[in-house]
C-alpha cells in the first residue's frame, strides 16, 4: 500500500451544508478523501478509533478537521476540548466552520484550541472561495506537527 492520501474530516450535521461543502471542494478540484461525521460523538469515534470506528488505524489522522459548533450529541466546543486533552490529537489542526459570528463562540473556540475560525458565508461563490483558501492552506501549505512515535 502506498502512502495514505491526506484525509479531511468534515464534522457537519446539516445535510445541505455537507453537500455544499463537498460541492465547494469539487469546484476547487480538491480531491482529498473526505470523511463526514454527522455529530460530535461520531467525530470522536473516528479520531479515537472507537464505537463504529473501532479498529481503525488511528495513526492515520486527518490533515485538517472542519468542525461545526452546533452539533447533536456532543457539541463542537466539547469535541475541541477532548481533542486537545488527548496526546494523539493535541496538535490536530481544527478549523471551526460555522454560521455564528457571535464573539462568545469565536472566543470559546480559540480558548479551547481551535487553529482557525471561519464563518460560512451565505453566497456560494464566497463559500467556495473560503473552502478553496482553507484547502490550499491546510492540505498543501501547512506542515503538521510530527507524530509522536
Amino acid at each position: 500500500m502506498g502512502r495514505p492520501s491526506k484525509i479531511l474530516l468534515l464534522v457537519e450535521d446539516n445535510n445541505d451544508d455537507e453537500t455544499l461543502t463537498l460541492m465547494a471542494l469539487e469546484t476547487n478540484r480538491i480531491t482529498n478523501e473526505v470523511v463526514v461525521a454527522r455529530d460530535g460523538a461520531e467525530a470522536l469515534d473516528f479520531l479515537f478509533g472507537t464505537g463504529a470506528h473501532a479498529g481503525r488505524d488511528v495513526s492515520v489522522q486527518p490533515q485538517v478537521v472542519l468542525l461545526d459548533l452546533n452539533l447533536p450529541k456532543i457539541g463542537g466546543i466539547e469535541v475541541l476540548r477532548r481533542l486537545r486533552a488527548d496526546e494523539r490529537t493535541r496538535f490536530l489542526p481544527v478549523v471551526v466552520l460555522t454560521s455564528s459570528k457571535e464573539e462568545e463562540d469565536i472566543l470559546k473556540s480559540y480558548m479551547h484550541g481551535a487553529n482557525a475560525y471561519v464563518r460560512k458565508p451565505i453566497e456560494f461563490a464566497e463559500f467556495a472561495e473560503a473552502v478553496r483558501t482553507l484547502g490550499l492552506f491546510w492540505l498543501i501549505q501547512n506542515e503538521s506537527a510530527p507524530r509522536a512515535k
Partner: protein, 354 residues
C-alpha cells in the same frame, strides 16, 4: 360620641394652627406647642397611628407654598417633637414598634416584588439571547442552501438554461443573500442594546480615518474628498462608537456614489450645552418631511435599486447615541446633501439608558 368627635376636631385644628405658625416662623414656643399637643393627644387616648393621620391631614390642608423642601423638613421636626410624649410611654413604644414593623413588612413585600420582577426580566433577557443565537445560527443554514443550490442549478443547466430561468435563479440566490444581510443587521441592532457600555476616551478623528480607509480600500476606483476635523475626542464605548461612524460614514459614502466631486466631512459644530459631531455629505439628500422616519428600523427614503441597504443602519446609530445619553438629528435638502448631527454627553452626567 359627638363631644369626642368635636374634641378630636379641636385637637386636629389646634395641631394644624400650631404647625402653620411654626412653618411661618420656626420658634421655640411653637415647637413647645407641638410637645403640648402630643401630651394632650396621649391623654385623650390617641394612638401613634391616629396621630400620624392628624399630621397628614394637617399637611394636606396647608397651602403648598409653605411646603417646599425646607417647609417639609420643618414639618418633620414639628411632628417628631409632638411624638416625643408618645415615645416616653410604654404604650407609645409598643405602638411605634408595631407601626415600624408594619412599614418594614410593606417594604419587604415591595423589595421581594421587585426582586421577582428583576428575575423575570433576567429570564426574558436570557431567552432573548438564545433566540438571537438561533436566529444567527439556524436561519442562515437554509439561506445557504437556497443560494448555493440555485447557483448549482445554473451551473448544472449550463448552456441549456433559458436566460429568463437563469435570471430567476440568480434572483432567488440574491434574495437569500439579502435576507442574510438583514439578519446580520438585526443582530447588530440587538447587540447595541445588550452589551454593557465600556466608556473611555475615544478619538473620533482616528476612528473616522480608519473607517474611511476601509471604504477606500473596498472601492479604490472612487474619487472622494474626505475631510476629518482633527482632535475630535469623545467619551464613549469604543466598539459602539466605531459602529456608529461605520454606519454614518458608510451612508455618506453610499449616497455620494452618483455624485460628481463627492465630498464627505466629519467635524464638530457648536450646539447648546455640548458640541454636536457631524457627518456631512453632498449626496442627493432627502426631503425633511420624512426626517422623523429616518431612525426607525426598516424605513428607507431611497429605493433599493437606487441605493442598496438594509434600513437598519440609522436605527442602530440612533440606539448607540441614545445609549450614550445623546441626541441625533439630521438636516438635509433634496439634491443638497445631508448632515447627521449627534451629541455624546460625558458619561458621569448621563447614566446609560438600558
Amino acid at each position: 360620641m359627638i363631644p369626642a368627635l368635636e374634641e378630636e376636631e379641636d385637637l386636629a385644628r389646634a395641631y394644624r394652627r400650631t404647625l402653620s405658625t411654626f412653618l411661618h416662623s420656626p420658634s421655640e414656643e411653637a415647637l413647645a406647642g407641638a410637645y403640648q399637643l402630643g401630651r394632650r393627644a396621649l391623654k385623650e387616648g390617641k394612638g401613634v397611628i391616629d396621630w400620624a393621620g392628624v399630621h397628614d391631614r394637617a399637611l394636606a390642608a396647608l397651602p403648598m407654598t409653605l411646603l417646599g423642601p425646607e417647609g417639609l423638613a420643618r414639618a418633620g421636626t414639628f411632628y417628631r417633637e409632638s411624638l416625643s410624649p408618645f415615645e416616653m410611654t410604654q404604650r407609645g413604644y409598643a405602638e411605634t414598634n408595631r407601626w415600624l414593623e408594619r412599614l418594614n413588612a410593606e417594604l419587604r413585600r415591595e423589595i421581594s416584588a421587585k426582586e421577582s420582577l428583576a428575575a423575570q426580566l433576567q429570564e426574558a433577557n436570557a431567552s432573548l439571547e438564545s433566540f438571537s443565537y438561533s436566529v444567527a445560527h439556524d436561519l442562515r443554514a437554509p439561506l445557504r442552501a437556497i443560494s448555493g443550490f440555485s447557483d448549482a442549478l445554473i451551473q448544472d443547466l449550463g448552456e441549456t438554461v433559458k436566460p429568463t430561468s437563469a435570471r430567476f435563479l440568480q434572483r432567488i440566490s440574491a434574495g437569500a443573500i439579502r435576507m442574510g444581510q438583514l439578519i446580520d443587521a438585526l443582530l447588530g441592532l440587538a447587540r447595541v442594546s445588550r452589551v454593557e457600555l465600556a466608556r473611555s476616551s475615544v478619538s473620533l478623528s482616528d476612528l473616522a480615518g480608519t473607517v474611511l480607509e476601509h471604504l477606500k480600500a473596498s472601492e479604490s476606483a472612487r474619487v472622494i474628498e474626505a475631510v476629518v476635523e482633527p482632535d475630535l475626542v469623545a467619551q464613549g464605548d469604543p466598539a459602539l462608537l466605531r459602529a456608529l461612524l461605520e454606519n454614518l460614514i458608510g451612508n455618506a459614502w453610499k449616497f455620494t456614489s452618483k455624485t460628481d466631486q463627492a465630498r464627505i466631512e466629519i467635524g464638530r459644530a457648536p450646539s447648546g450645552a455640548e458640541p454636536a459631531y457631524f457627518v456631512r455629505d453632498n449626496g442627493p439628500g432627502f426631503d425633511m418631511a420624512y426626517a422623523a422616519k429616518l431612525f426607525e428600523p426598516f424605513q428607507r427614503l431611497h429605493s433599493a435599486q437606487e441605493f442598496p441597504g438594509t434600513g437598519i443602519g440609522l436605527a442602530t446609530v440612533h440606539r448607540i447615541v441614545r445609549r450614550h445619553g445623546g441626541r441625533i438629528w439630521a438636516e438635509a435638502t433634496v439634491g443638497g446633501g445631508a448632515t447627521f448631527y449627534f451629541t455624546l454627553p460625558k458619561g458621569d452626567e448621563h447614566g446609560p439608558s438600558v
